[in-house]
């Protein structure tokens, strides 16, 4: 394999070095530093005081931590299943024979290119209770205006809807890559055997796209657990803290209230939760495959 006289390892390191340096400084170091400061009371600006496990103990007594965690879980449950189904359905459409295939691929993916702030602001205005477009339509149809973002029962769903629109395109790309990998011969032979569309879908496409679905599910759950921007821009955590998610509380504790240590401790709790869930998912899905 190795060409004589070539130092592959050394050259490899040199080529990877620029990236590695950035990665070490901006990823590995902050990760370690975050863990370090979670054991301190530190306000960024002055030097910190060692706090031991105090930040972690406090978190278990903090109602706001638990309510924010619950709101995050709620968001994961609201978004994950729908985004999976939506992404898969879109992928079916763009990999099929429909004449709209090319157009819809672009239409589905374009929202994902937009920045979070743009998407959040856009949907916040569409959903504004008194002057938003959605309620104008509701009024035209003779309905009562809906408090999309201001009604505590609907606010999280509204954030979910904006998220569907924003990120379903990404899942579509994953799923369509998975579908395109399925060998054409399988479809051809099933056609010769006279299988109809739904038989092909349920007997061939879905079983063979399972590894992609597993990957997609894990990525989606992680992404949903880390939700921040949509909530921050659209509802500001309101009404009365009803949609405050954990990442938002972490952000507020750290950068608005200057409780960096406490903020880092909560971030590490979130990390642990995501880690455990991902490992369980990975193990469960892996077992199924073998």
């Amino acid at each position: 394999m190795a060409i004589p006289g070539n130092k592959d390892t050394r050259d490899g390191i040199i080529f990877a070095l620029p990236f590695l340096l950035v990665y070490l400084v901006f990823m590995v170091f902050p990760l370690g530093f975050g863990l370090f400061i979670s054991f301190f009371n530190w306000d960024i600006l002055s030097s910190g005081a060692f706090a031991g496990w105090a930040n972690y103990r406090r978190l278990f007594q903090d109602e706001l931590f638990f309510s924010s965690l619950w709101h995050t879980v709620e968001f994961v449950l609201i978004t994950t299943p729908v985004l999976m189904v939506l992404g898969f359905s879109m992928a079916l459409l763009v990999t099929g024979n429909s004449p709209l295939r090319k157009v819809s691929e672009n239409v589905f993916f374009i929202p994902y290119i937009l920045s979070m702030t743009v998407v959040g602001t856009l949907w916040a205005w569409l959903m504004q209770r008194d002057y938003g477009l959605l309620n104008q339509i509701v009024r035209q149809l003779g309905g009562e205006p809906v408090g999309w973002l201001t009604n505590p029962k609907q606010a999280m769903w509204s954030v979910g809807i904006a998220t569907y629109w924003w990120t379903a395109g990404f899942n579509m790309i994953l799923f369509s890559a998975g579908i395109k990998q399925i060998s054409k011969e399988i479809y051809e032979s099933s056609q010769i055997d006279g299988a109809n569309y739904f038989q092909t879908l349920f007997r061939i496409t879905i079983p063979l796209v399972k590894p992609t679905a597993a990957l997609c599910l894990i990525l989606q759950v992680i992404a949903s657990f880390n939700v921040f921007g949509q909530v921050y821009v659209m509802t500001g955590g309101g009404p009365h803290g009803r949609t405050r998610v954990l990442t938002q509380y972490i952000y507020e504790a750290g950068f608005r209230y200057f409780k960096m240590g406490y903020s880092a401790a909560m971030a590490y709790m979130l990390f642990l939760i995501i880690l455990v869930i991902s490992v369980i998912q990975y193990a469960a899905l892996g077992k199924e495959r073998s």
């Binding site: 600006l45 702030t117 008194d130 002057y131 009604n151 309101g238 009365h240 507020e252």
Partner: protein, 428 residues
């Protein structure tokens, strides 16, 4: 072969090194430039949208009239100003002058990141007696001055003159009962919204509730926190009266729709669909631009007693630097003083000036509306000087919002708020 390889590796490493160096170089040469010509004062401001253009115009005017100093903003507008400011302050590479809200300033001061200005002010003979007392007092911490106030932005009352006339209201309502009566009269006679007060968080937190609650406490001669800002001070008769006034607006008198958010309230008034609107002075600019809106802006009425109104203040502060250049400090102070002295230009954005001399300028008195609420500065009070304020403020807003939305019993609500606020203060 080996030497060839070594040469290649050397070139690769040298190239990487060069790329890194060049960024350092660029930073270094910028440092050097400052030595020649006029002194450069860098600043950050947090003004976007409406306010921003007036602030930029002031900076342009400053630069036009000063040959020895150049004021420069070295960044674009921020998405998140305070996050950037905090990191810059902690790295000690913040600009020479920064704009900070008075309520945020006091969160920073105990951390020693802002320069105490007293010596500098004395050295430059700053005309401190030209400043309005209340806002100048509000930037002091432990007796030292840490910033100079650029403006006061108090909570005021806007009312729609056409809707008032249509409903036959001739006197500007003063007491809570009068405000409610006027709002109800307008609702009955015109079908417009009586009292546009945001009470639900959407894109903005329902801070108006906290601002009103604090104002109503002060109107009854008491404060939100106790004298040394160590405990909540609203779980009492005055607090009950103030909270009841807020809840009743929505739940009993029905003058304010439930679920109204900030954008909804502002736009209702702007489009002439609401009779009375409580908001900060900053809304004046956008209301003025609205054709067909015939409105007046007056100081917050003394609804529950004597006149008192919540107010914020934009202040100009000087961050502590690694090496403090005295010439630059003087230039920075010159810039700050000039900005406050030209509060008439800033008043175009709706803000109330902080210098007595500005009130006499023709360019200020000729502005519409401003003088109608300028006296609000005299009964405006600042938020309490505690590092816990940011968390107390947003938590209170959430809890008041909850109390109003759920028509909570005022005693239960205040009890819960008191417990929560006390535990927050204790955690600092």
């Amino acid at each position: 072969m080996r030497t060839h390889n070594r040469k290649r590796a050397f070139i690769a490493i040298a190239l990487i090194g060069l790329m890194m160096l060049s960024t350092l170089w660029a930073a270094g040469s910028q440092e050097q430039k400052k030595q020649e010509g006029p002194i450069e004062v860098t600043f950050w401001s947090l003004f976007t949208g409406g306010d921003g253009e007036f602030f930029d115009a002031m900076v342009d005017e400053f630069n036009r009239t000063h040959t020895d100093i150049v004021a420069k903003t070295d960044t674009v507008k921020f998405d998140n100003y305070y996050t950037k400011l905090t990191t810059a302050l902690s790295a000690k590479n913040a600009p020479d002058v920064v704009v900070v809200h008075q309520s945020n300033l006091l969160g920073y001061v105990p951390r020693g990141v802002f320069l105490s200005l007293d010596d500098l002010l004395a050295k430059n003979n700053a005309p401190l007696d030209d400043f309005v007392a209340a806002p100048l007092e509000a930037v002091k911490y432990d007796g030292k001055t840490y910033a100079l106030p650029l403006d006061v932005h108090a909570l005021i009352m806007y009312y729609n003159m056409d809707l008032f006339a249509e409903a036959g209201i001739t006197k500007v309502p003063q007491t809570y009962a009068e405000v409610i009566a006027a709002a109800q009269a307008v609702q009955a006679k015109t079908g417009a919204m009586g009292l546009a007060v945001d009470n639900t968080t959407a894109t903005y937190k329902a801070y108006t509730l906290t601002r009103l609650f604090m104002s109503m406490l002060e109107q009854q001669g008491t404060s939100f926190l106790n004298a040394d800002n160590s405990k909540a001070n609203f779980n009492n008769v005055a607090g009950e009266k103030a909270l009841k006034a807020l809840v009743d607006m929505v739940q009993v008198h029905k003058t304010t729709p439930a679920g109204l958010d900030y954008d909804g309230a502002v736009n209702a008034f702007r489009l002439g669909k609401a009779a009375i609107h409580f908001n900060g002075v900053w809304a004046t600019g956008s209301f003025e631009k609205q054709t067909g809106l015939n409105f007046k802006a007056v100081g917050l009425p003394p609804m529950l007693g004597k006149p008192a109104a919540w107010s914020g203040s934009h202040t100009l502060a000087i961050p502590v630097q690694r090496t403090q250049d005295p010439a630059k400090l003087d230039a920075a102070l010159t810039f700050i003083l000039w900005m406050t002295e030209h509060g008439d230009m800033w008043a175009k954005a709706g803000h109330i000036p902080t210098r007595h001399s500005v009130y006499e300028k023709e360019s200020f008195t000729s502005l519409p509306h401003r003088k109608d609420y300028a006296d609000a500065a005299s009964f405006a009070f600042a938020p309490p000087a505690t590092p816990a304020w940011e968390e107390v403020y947003s938590t209170t807003s959430d809890m008041l919002e909850y109390a109003v939305a759920k028509n909570q019993n005022v005693k239960t609500a205040l009890q819960a708020m008191e417990t929560k606020i006390n535990s927050i203060i204790a955690s600092y």
